[in-house]
């Protein structure tokens, strides 16, 4: 693969266009497995599979990068087997780029009685009840075995609704863990380690974290500790604060964001990369995403609706199937879930494609206005936080 412009640099970011009004950018991010066009939405394939969608189908949808999950894969089937299978790429047969998270978030959100110390996160395996320690070194070792193009540091994750000294403790520890992760990375020439900015909803703490972490020579930064149930008003302010202090020439990855409105707004605030389980998860509940909201295809109202999910969508599902058929199929075969998953992934990827193109064409603010107009029945229903956030970067919605 000949994408690397600079020897020894597994990530090269080329900024193609910057919105003259907002902080939005369109870039090409060249990684060891392929170049990724940003802004980009990365679907989440937690256990080395994009649910019922094959690697080939995912490729045909135009997906250039997706996520694997270190905690899950580290537990099952384990790093040794994956390494033997030529990394996660080989194991799941995905030829394009992969990003793995560190396992930190799952530690805290999924595993009961996990205990965080300076060493790492101690927890009890749900599969064999053994006590396990996930340290920065271990997380990086697993991710080295997985062979992902982008690895995330192990961070000390606290919920955004937590306040008090724990937030600062976690932020400072994350910095120390970043340094340990950098030191532990066996493959700096072929795997990119991203830092994760913490600090909760506290501007001062965020500032400190930004100042410290940007001193480290990492190829990219994630904005973490958000999208966890905090007020949207606080959320966007932390996002924009972070992008204000992150280097222009490195990618900005906003973790856990995937709702269409959130994506568009946070692109305006200067973010390049996003991931979220929402589109693929909601598909498995029969919910299809469309430019004006979502269709709950299990509802009776679709029983005789012979239109496709979105008449203007060109995904394989919309080209061949109707809402009525999917409604019927949902009662009798899992294939229905796959159809909707494919549509939802296509929706997300197309949305980002359109966002990117509008930035390149210099009409991103107009795009945003048209997007909001389509999504909400009237101006009164535009979420206030979104209006404020967009206004803060020069995009008014009147």
């Amino acid at each position: 693969f000949s994408g690397r412009a600079i020897a020894g640099a597994p990530l090269v970011l080329r900024i193609l266009a910057e919105c003259p009004v907002s902080k939005a950018r369109a870039c090409d991010m060249t990684l060891p497995h392929c170049t990724v066009n940003t802004p980009v939405f990365m679907p989440v394939g937690t256990q080395g599979t994009m649910k019922g969608v094959t690697a080939e189908q995912l490729e045909n949808l135009g997906c250039q990068i997706c996520l694997g999950n270190t905690y899950h894969l580290g537990m099952r089937p384990g790093p040794e087997l994956i390494e033997k299978a030529k990394g996660l790429h080989g194991f799941m047969n995905w030829r394009r780029s992969l990003l793995t998270d560190s396992g930190g978030f799952q530690m805290v959100s999924l595993v009961e009685l996990s205990q965080v110390t300076e060493e790492g996160v101690k927890f009890r395996s749900p599969y064999d009840n053994k006590e396990i320690l996930l340290s920065p070194e271990q997380s990086i070792a697993i991710q080295n075995s997985l062979g992902s193009d982008i690895m995330m540091q192990l961070d000390d994750v606290v919920s955004s609704t937590v306040t008090g000294p724990r937030v600062e403790e976690a932020m400072r520890r994350s910095i120390r863990w970043l340094d340990r992760c950098i030191a532990a990375n066996r493959n700096p020439e072929s795997q990119n380690l991203f830092a994760i900015i913490q600090g909760g909803l506290n501007s001062e703490l965020r500032h400190i974290c930004l100042e410290e972490m940007t001193k480290r020579d990492v190829p990219g930064f994630a904005i973490g500790g958000l999208s966890g149930g905090e007020e949207k008003d606080d959320f966007w302010k932390m996002v924009t604060l972070s992008t204000d202090h992150l280097p222009r020439e490195k990618p900005r990855y906003l973790m856990g964001v995937g709702y269409a409105v959130d994506l568009v707004v946070c692109v305006a605030l200067g973010c390049d990369m996003f991931d979220c389980v929402f589109p693929t998860r909601t598909a498995r509940f029969g919910s299809a995403l469309v430019p004006w909201g979502s269709l709950q295809l299990k509802h009776k109202q679709y029983a005789k609706d012979f239109q496709p999910i979105d008449p203007e969508c060109t995904c394989p599902t919309c080209r061949r199937h109707s809402r009525a058929y999917l409604h019927a199929l949902l009662k009798c075969d899992t294939a229905a879930l796959h159809h909707i998953t494919i549509h939802n992934i296509s929706y997300q990827l197309s949305l980002m494609q359109s966002v990117r193109q509008s930035i390149i064409d210099g009409c991103f603010p107009q795009f945003v206005r048209a997007f909001m107009d389509r999504m909400f029945p009237s101006r009164e229903q535009y979420p206030r936080w979104a209006v404020d956030a967009l206004a803060s970067v020069g995009i008014t919605l009147n």
């Binding site: 649910k51 087997l81 033997k84 009662k331 075969d333």
Partner: protein
Amino acid sequence: MKLELRGLAPGTRLGVLAGLGRSGTRAMEVPGCLLYTHCGSVPHLTHDTLDALGRLPAVTQLPLATVAEHQEVLEAFREGAAKLAGLHDTVLFCSLQDPAAPCPAGYNTSKSVSLWSAAGRIELTVPKYVAMQAAVRPDWYQSLADGDAQPAGSSLKRVRRSVERTLTHLDECVLLHQKTAELVGAELFGVVEGADVREERVRSARETAKRPVGGFVLDGFQSGVMDQALRAQLIAAVTAELPRDKPRLVLGVGRPDQVLSCVEGGVDLFEGFFPFVATERGCALCFRFAMEPDPESAVQEQNGVTEDGGSSRTEDPEHQDLQQMTRFEMNLNDRRYRDDLRPLVVGCGCYCCRNHSRAYLHHLLVTKELLAGVLLMLHNVSHYSSFFSSVREALATDRLETLKSVVLGV
């Protein structure tokens, strides 16, 4: 529809069913199996993954049981189930029950047959049944039949009644068929009943053959309902009474050894549900059907190393129910596959075997991921289809006995 048989040794049937579909341009090789669907979709598969299978059977099976609850929708749609399901270019056969689902007996009456759908039991008289078929708009469909008389424990009286009722239903179907615009051009198949009573089987076959039907469906021979030896005898007795130039389809027989036995007895078509039931238990079909010995495995066998994967059982119980794994499969849930980076079946050209390993399938099953069903279905349908190609080749070259020993592994 025209069945063109090659002139082979008497009793063996090999040929092409031509002139299929409303356009009259599709054709299907026989013996062959149909493409099994739920509500018009091959289980687990979307159109793209289905495409990865390459050449698909020309005839798709839609069990009415998987679509019956949507009759109103089909009537509002007005273009038939194939179109609604996005199956544009196929020949659709609408059977009654789902071969992979249980059909409790004891609910049929003299005027109605009970259909077992996801929404529960639906009672069908002939007019209701024909109205449903009119909504489906199949290319072929079977007549309404009383298949209730299971061999074990059915009185002779009950068996006779099921034959009588089935003939009565057929006659009524024929009349209604002729008056139903949506079924113009569709072929009606008569159903042969008779449980395990030879006399009744012969009677049912003879009488059904007198009616203006396009083909014959053989009911009551399902795996798990009748043992192989008896099935073989009765099928031979039945087909002896049926016209040579019309196709014979047997319901509920999918195991490869039983398929071969039915082929010998003069059956042309099979329901393609066996790959699906194997998939549902996390199993991959791995039985051999290549008649040319593969040099590598011949050496391995000489050296006492057997192809890893198959069950060590040499026999399957006769009355095995659908849930149980057969010797024709490998169970990917088994821990022994955890580290096995080989494809499911070495040498198989399907999407799954070209792209993935046993270890990956094992992982998907352990983690209960949806992709397991997709990949296993792709392999299993492909493997099964190739088996049928081998059956046809064996018939063409008079090597059915060789194929039998290869498949049975003896």
